[in-house]
Symmetry: C2
Subunit: 529 residues, 2 copies
């Protein structure tokens, strides 16, 4: 065995890492959310040589993947993540799970040991493919420099599958450190396209809707744009029906003169009551199911015979809605909804979730993007969003908590002119609080409202429904967060983010006015019951 | 389709969840590091009914798994983790990767949707098995209440395999919510046993060592106890050889009158220089390999013909060392090593990594446990630990960063009378800083020294070796953490942990004196160059 061989002469010229970056750039990538380690340093050097990709460092991988998700949702472009081996990638899985549910197009870059080193099972060796598959449309291990452009093309193709989602490229250090061909195949930019809905689907829907009965138009995915909501409203109006949206949209446009869109309820009994006996037109939305499986309640909440499957997620729901509305006699452009009046709640009163939302309805600037996580503020906001100026809302699509703050980071980088507002429950904010550092570092215009009720409210709601006493010591130990109460103002300060604690409506109003004009982040700890 | 069925009458009597806890308790589990969600509430209720297991809540799953690892290393017992579905589990993977490398025996409990709900691909559905396999000796999905005791027995058996490691039990809500047999099979407590090394192995070693040549005794795993180190020292003395330990021990006993144990170096060139032409007796240690694969350097750093394979990890290395030492004429009990004098560094001088270590050498109390993460303080400590009072050190076994603080949590719960000291680099501390909250909540006697150099020092070291300029903007952006500098005192305050910033040796000395007498946690931000 040759224990020590001569170190190779430094390679001049183009390496695999350079070809990888060229190919990604050509495919459309412009930003890289990174938390690199030793195996990624070859790519870090190449990023420095290249200089075209914006590199955003985070202190934790879940921030990188959640930021990539937010960036993809707001921009529709394909961001990169750069993560360190299996364990580093694993820290980013939760937010990639949400990204998969949102159909966000992302390419993950994961460094791995040199191929010849893997057999030695070094400390950081792990089965990266097994970890990556559950959150990737495709996992590709780069095997040789000559094939890198092909591999990248395949990754973009995977993210362009109908429902979007991430593709994962694993790059062994020896492959990206090796000389690469100067004339690597070109990748070519392939824009994302929704799949068209055929005429037969429209005809079937027309036939189904010609039967007597109530109708609900359930919007989801690509239908949740201004055009989709107007087309859906036209269809609902033509049928005398109601307009609903899926419970957890990736991104939805709301407010201004757009019609109100009712949100699908959460608990199965509430969904069943909400749906009544109506037939449900699925326009970009999946059929209504129960979020969790509850004994005594079916998973599927609307039977097959009442479902009108117009457009699946990943299909062009807007075009399908327009076509269907025109055939059932819908007005192409229904009258704009008049704005309801909004006014600030009483200044001296203690904050409640509803009063926080009322104040934000007053102050939210035009074209803001809201990153919403948790039901404490999320529920009341989505019941009232039609009363705000035109804005977009991102919600937690996959239920993996710790999405809200990173998604706000990504949104701010995707749309630097917009104001980003994070409406964030305190429990879920803890999973990726390191986002605050990246907000400060990048000077992002994010205004965060932490709903500080110091408990896992959703778990208490579920336990109440199951008639489990909340004051049992062990139950309380596992659901209450009040010993000690987290001081979010101190945490924000720790990361260089200005912060204010608010207990009354007046305090919140002043803090929000300050935050919404700052050229950087502000965190407001809203103390709630 | 029956959309709404009658809710079942509440079940009285014993449920699957109760049988699960009974079986786990019988097998030896006494503590549960938990971050539950809705699918785990059946188990939370059962934990409340049972009342025998200590439940420790953390704000992030990586804290749960790292704390379980620390608990297992210090106690040798089998702790539980309770985590929420695939994404919640994913957040705990990084520290389970380290636990696998440490051979820590852990049982993970992961809730899943009801079996009949999985086909509907609800938002939180994911391939938990694919996520869990890379960090589990065995993954078992509970299929029916009658088999739960068998499943638990199998999980304990998997953790008892020679090298230890975690077993993972996935429990669908309908299985643990269903009535369970009162007379479930009993699990029985099976203590962990190392595999004995046969006489033939001792004989081979004697033969190999009878040849002329230098000898290194390389200790690892089970050999890193007081008995193992003394036996290793006796063997080395008899052969006129040197005593080394593996570079990243799970837990090692050091200091007091124990002989100094040199640590295996990190970079391949340093290891090769350190090993020279010696033959290397592997006693509980794996053979020396390179941590990463570097072009021009072999992975294996000592050729096969110079390896004397006495005891593999998971084998009884102490007994093998004692037997071998006696056959080559080693003294059974070499003279205790005399303690070297230690004294505080100059009070007014600015802190350096070495001065931090010197002060801790003076103050570290007897039988403390050090949780060590990062090379800034870890390197100098392990070079000098023989000069401290008797203590134990846990290191980062798998290279997944974010281990140090959670391991300190687990150590403190495993040994409440001991003082726990976390020597922690600032970059890696960020991955699981939520540990601070659990330390405050549980009043743990943990004294943390954060090595605040505001950069990824290890990456800068690697880049320097590769001759990549550190001041390139993108390189600096991805390796420097000084914009903004994290204020650890503020972060600690946010979690209810007292904290002090130290810039001189005198300040550190005073802070440490205060921290080591507190009946709870203290964080010291040590500002380093």
């Amino acid at each position: 065995m040759n224990v020590q061989s001569e170190a190779k002469a430094p390679v001049s010229g183009r390496l695999g890492a350079d070809l990888l970056l060229d190919s990604l750039y050509e495919g459309g990538a412009r930003i890289c959310f990174a938390n690199p380690g030793t195996t990624e340093l070859g790519l870090v050097s190449a990023l420095a040589r290249d200089g075209r990709l914006r590199c955003v460092l985070s202190l934790f991988e879940g921030v990188c993947t959640g930021a990539a998700d937010g960036y993809a949702r707001v921009s529709g472009q394909v961001p990169l993540t750069l993560l360190h081996l299996g364990p580093g990638f694993a820290n980013g899985i939760a937010n990639l799970h949400n990204a998969r549910r949102a159909g966000s197009r992302i390419i993950n870059l994961i460094g791995d040991h040199a191929t010849w080193h893997l057999a030695y099972d070094a400390p950081l060796t792990s089965d990266i493919v097994s970890l990556a598959q559950p959150v990737s449309r495709q996992v590709i291990s780069l095997a040789k420099p000559d094939a890198i452009a092909d591999d990248v093309r395949q990754a973009f193709a995977a993210t362009n599958l109908a429902e979007g989602g991430a593709a994962t490229l694993i790059f062994p250090t020896d492959v990206v450190d090796a000389p690469a061909p100067d004339n690597g195949n070109t990748v070519g930019f392939v824009p994302y396209q929704l799949t068209s809905v055929g005429d037969d689907r429209i005809k079937s829907a027309v036939a189904a809707l010609s039967e007597p009965g109530e109708t609900i138009v359930l919007l989801g995915g690509s239908a949740l744009t201004e055009a989709g909501i107007r087309a859906g409203a036209a269809l609902a109006a033509a049928l005398g029906g109601r307009l609903l949206m899926e419970p957890y949209p990736g991104i939805v446009t709301l407010g201004g003169d757009l019609p109100k869109v009712e949100r699908q309820a959460y608990f199965p009994d509430d969904v069943i009551a909400q749906m009544g006996d109506a037939r449900v037109v699925l326009a970009g939305a999946r059929m209504p199911i129960s979020y969790f499986g509850y004994e005594g309640w079916s998973s599927q909440l609307v039977p097959d015979e009442r479902l009108v499957r117009l457009a699946a997620p990943g299909e062009d729901a807007v075009a399908a809605l327009v076509a269907l509305a025109s055939q059932v006699g819908g007005e192409p452009a229904p009258a704009p909804a008049p704005m309801e009046a909004v006014c600030s709640p009483e200044a001296d009163a203690a904050l409640t979730p509803v009063s926080v939302v009322e104040e934000l309805l007053v102050q939210l600037p035009q074209d803001a993007v809201i990153s919403l996580e948790g039901s404490t503020l999320g529920g009341p906001w989505l019941r009232n969003a039609h009363r705000a100026k035109r804005h977009r809302v991102m919600t937690n699509t996959g239920g993996a908590i710790g999405q809200g703050l990173p998604c706000a980071v990504g949104a701010a980088l995707a749309q630097p002119d917009a104001r980003i507002v994070a409406l964030q429950s305190d429990g879920s904010a803890q999973y990726t609080l390191q986002s605050l550092w990246t907000m400060a570092r990048e000077g992002l215009k994010v205004t965060i409202i932490i709903a500080a009720n110091h408990r896992y409210a959703i778990l208490q709601t579920e336990l109440n429904r199951a008639e489990v006493p909340l004051d049992d010591k062990i139950v309380a130990d596992l659901t209450k967060l009040d010993s000690p109460k987290v001081d979010w103002v101190a945490l924000a300060k720790g990361y260089g983010v200005e912060a204010i604690r608010a207990t009354t409506n007046g305090e919140l109003s002043a803090a929000l006015r300050h935050g919404l004009t700052l050229d950087g982040p502000l965190l407001i700890q809203a103390e709630l019951p």
